[in-house]
C-alpha cells in the first residue's frame, strides 16, 4: 500500500480513531458507540419525540456526527470513508434513540446509502418501531434520473437535518416531520465544483487528476469526477457558474426568500469562502431574491477537496422559524 501524507495511523482505522476523538471532544453532547459505530445524543432516547437519524460515508465531517445534539440529529451512523453505513448501524441507532414516537431516517441519494437504509428500515419495522425515510437529492449537477442513479444528496442535507430536528423538537409526530422534510427536499437545490481532488486514506492517491489550470464542475462529495472539466475562472465566474443552474432548476424567482448556504469542500479557506459568499449575495440581490438566512463554512466536506458548493433553500415563515429554533451540536449552535 502506498504511504499517504495524512495525520493518520492505519488507513483502515481512520474512522474509528476519529470517532473516538469526536466522543472525547463533545462528551457533553454525544456518545460514540463502537461496533457497530453509532454517534448518539447523550440524553437519548428522548421520550415522546420522533428520533431523527442520519448517516453516510465518513469524510464529510462535521456531517453527520457533528450535527448530533438537541434540536438536530438524535443519532448519526458513520460508514467507512465515502462508503454508506451498514444496516446494523442504522438498526442500533433506531434502538438507542426510539422514544416511542418512531424514527425518521434522513438518507442522501446514493445507491449504497439507499440500499442500506432501506434494509435497515425493514429490519427496524420488523422489530416494531415505526420508521420512515426521506431521501434528499438536491444536486442540480446530475441530470435526468431515468439515466442515472438520480440526483445526489449534497449540501441541502444540512438545512434538512436542522429543520427536521427542530420540527421533532417542537413535538411534531412522525407524519408531521416527514411532511416538513418533504417540503425542504422539494425546495432545496445545490451545486458544487472542485479545484483539487481529495485523497481517500485507503486509496492513497488523489481521486482524480486536475491540471493546475483546470477545475471540475458539478462535483459530488466523494471525489467522483464531475460532469465537466474546464479552465479555472475567477470568483465571479465560479459563483455565477454554481448559482445559475440552481436558480434555473427550481426555479428561484424575484421575491423569493431563501437560505443561502456557502459550503467549503474541505480545503478552501474561509477567506475565499466569504469572498464567494459576498458575490452570491450580490448576484441574488440583483435578481430580487431575498437572502433571509445564511450559513457559511465547511459543513459538507469531501476530505481535503479544494472547492465549494452553494445551496439555496426557498423559505417560508415556518421553515425560517424551524431554522432559527435552538440547536446545540458540535458544528451548529445557537439559541441555547
Amino acid at each position: 500500500m502506498l504511504a499517504v501524507k495524512k495525520i493518520i495511523n492505519d488507513p483502515s482505522a481512520v474512522v474509528a480513531e476519529s470517532l473516538r476523538g469526536l466522543g472525547l471532544a463533545h462528551a457533553d453532547l454525544l456518545e460514540v458507540v463502537d461496533e457497530p459505530a453509532v454517534v448518539v445524543r447523550v440524553d437519548a432516547p428522548v421520550a415522546g419525540k420522533v428520533a431523527v437519524i442520519s448517516g453516510g460515508g465518513s469524510g464529510h465531517e462535521p456531517m453527520h456526527g457533528g450535527l448530533v445534539g438537541p434540536g438536530m440529529l438524535d443519532a448519526a451512523c458513520p460508514g467507512a470513508v465515502f462508503t454508506s453505513p451498514t444496516p446494523d448501524q442504522v438498526q442500533l441507532a433506531v434502538q438507542r434513540t426510539d422514544g416511542g414516537a418512531g424514527a425518521l431516517l434522513i438518507v442522501k441519494n446514493y445507491t449504497g446509502d439507499v440500499l442500506n437504509f432501506e434494509t435497515a428500515a425493514e429490519l427496524a419495522a420488523a422489530e416494531g418501531t415505526r420508521v420512515e425515510s426521506i431521501v434528499i437529492d438536491d444536486d442540480v449537477a446530475v441530470k435526468d434520473s431515468l439515466f442515472t442513479a438520480g440526483r445526489r444528496g449534497v449540501g441541502g442535507t444540512v438545512p434538512l437535518e436542522k429543520i427536521v430536528g427542530a420540527a421533532a423538537d417542537r413535538g411534531e409526530d412522525l407524519d408531521g416531520c416527514l411532511a416538513i422534510a418533504r417540503r425542504v427536499v422539494a425546495n432545496v437545490r445545490s451545486m458544487g465544483l472542485a479545484l483539487g481532488a481529495p485523497t481517500v486514506p485507503h486509496v492513497g492517491t488523489p481521486s482524480f487528476e486536475l491540471a493546475d489550470d483546470e477545475m471540475e464542475v458539478g462535483i459530488g462529495i466523494h471525489g467522483e469526477p464531475g460532469r465537466a472539466r474546464m479552465p479555472v475562472e475567477n470568483a465571479e465566474g465560479v459563483v455565477a457558474r454554481l448559482l445559475t443552474p440552481i436558480l434555473e432548476d427550481l426555479p428561484f424567482t424575484e421575491g423569493d426568500r431563501v437560505l443561502l448556504f456557502t459550503n467549503s469542500m474541505g480545503a478552501t479557506p474561509l477567506l475565499e469562502l466569504y469572498l464567494a459568499h459576498g458575490i452570491a449575495e450580490r448576484l441574488l440581490a440583483e435578481r430580487g431574491i431575498v437572502v433571509e438566512r445564511r450559513l457559511v463554512g465547511p459543513f459538507v466536506t469531501s476530505l481535503e477537496m479544494q472547492g465549494m458548493s452553494l445551496t439555496l433553500l426557498k423559505l417560508d415563515d415556518e421553515l425560517r422559524d424551524l431554522w432559527d429554533a435552538p440547536v446545540r451540536t458540535a458544528a451548529l449552535r445557537w439559541g441555547c
Binding site: T111, L115, H222, E224
Partner: protein, 208 residues
C-alpha cells in the same frame, strides 16, 4: 461429486484470497468512474466472511451461503454489501437444505443470485453494472449439460466476456452514472469483481 458445506467454505476462503490479490485493481477501476471504495469494501467483506467461517461450521452449503450473505450485508456498506449479500442470500434460499451442490443447484443458485441483484439494484443489462457480468454467466451456466466444474467454468468465461463488454458502455446506475458520457471507456468495477469471484469458484471446482 457435489460440493459440500466444507467444500463451499473452502471455496469462499479461496475467493477471499483472490479479492485480496485484486483489491488494488478494483480500487483503481472504481477510482476512475466511481469513488474508489469497491476493492477495499470487498476485501473487508470477504475477510469478514473468513472470520465468520472460522467461528462457525454451517452444516449445509445453503447455510454457508447464508452466513456469507448476512456477513456481507452487515459488514460492508456501500452498494457492494447489500448487492452481493442479497445475491448470496437468494442463492442460499435456492439451494435450500441440500447436502451438496451439484450442477443443477449451481444453476438455480446463479439464477436466484441474479434475480436478487436485479431486484435490489434495479439495474438492467447494458447499465454498466455487475448485472452485465452475471446475466451472461447465468445464461451460459444454464446451457451447459455437464459437471459442476463445467457449469462454473462456462459461467466464469461468460462473466469475463460480459465484464469486458461494459468498457464502451455509458453507466446508467450507481455512482458512475453521474459521469454520463465520461463513464465510457472504463471497465465497470462491479462487473469485474463478479467475473473474478466466478472465476475463483470455477477454479476451485476444477481443482477438486
Amino acid at each position: 461429486m457435489g460440493c459440500t458445506a466444507e467444500d463451499l467454505a473452502a471455496a469462499l476462503r479461496s475467493a477471499a484470497v483472490v479479492v485480496r490479490e485484486h483489491r488494488d485493481e478494483l480500487v483503481e477501476l472504481d477510482r476512475a468512474i466511481g469513488d474508489g471504495d469497491h476493492g477495499e469494501n470487498l476485501r473487508r467483506g470477504f475477510d469478514a466472511i473468513v472470520t465468520a467461517l472460522d467461528a462457525a461450521t454451517p452444516p449445509t452449503p445453503g447455510a454457508v451461503l447464508k452466513l456469507a450473505a448476512t456477513t456481507l450485508i452487515s459488514k460492508v456498506g456501500g452498494a457492494a454489501g447489500p448487492l452481493y449479500g442479497t445475491a448470496l442470500l437468494r442463492a442460499s434460499t435456492a439451494v435450500g437444505d441440500a447436502a451438496e451442490i451439484g450442477p443443477a443447484e449451481a444453476v438455480a443458485a446463479l439464477e436466484a443470485a441474479l434475480g436478487g441483484v436485479v431486484a435490489r439494484g434495479k439495474a438492467e443489462p447494458g447499465d454498466k453494472t455487475m448485472v452485465d457480468a452475471l446475466t451472461p454467466a447465468v445464461a451460459a451456466a444454464t446451457a451447459v449439460d455437464g459437471s459442476l466444474a463445467e457449469v462454473l467454468a462456462a459461467a466464469a468465461r461468460a462473466a469475463d466476456a460480459g465484464a469486458e463488454s461494459t468498457v464502451p458502455l455509458v453507466a446508467r446506475k450507481g455512482r458512475a452514472s453521474y459521469l454520463g458520457e465520461r463513464s465510457a471507456g472504463h471497465l465497470d468495477p462491479g462487473a469485474r469483481s463478479t467475473a473474478l469471484l466466478l472465476a475463483s469458484l470455477a477454479a476451485t471446482a476444477a481443482g477438486r
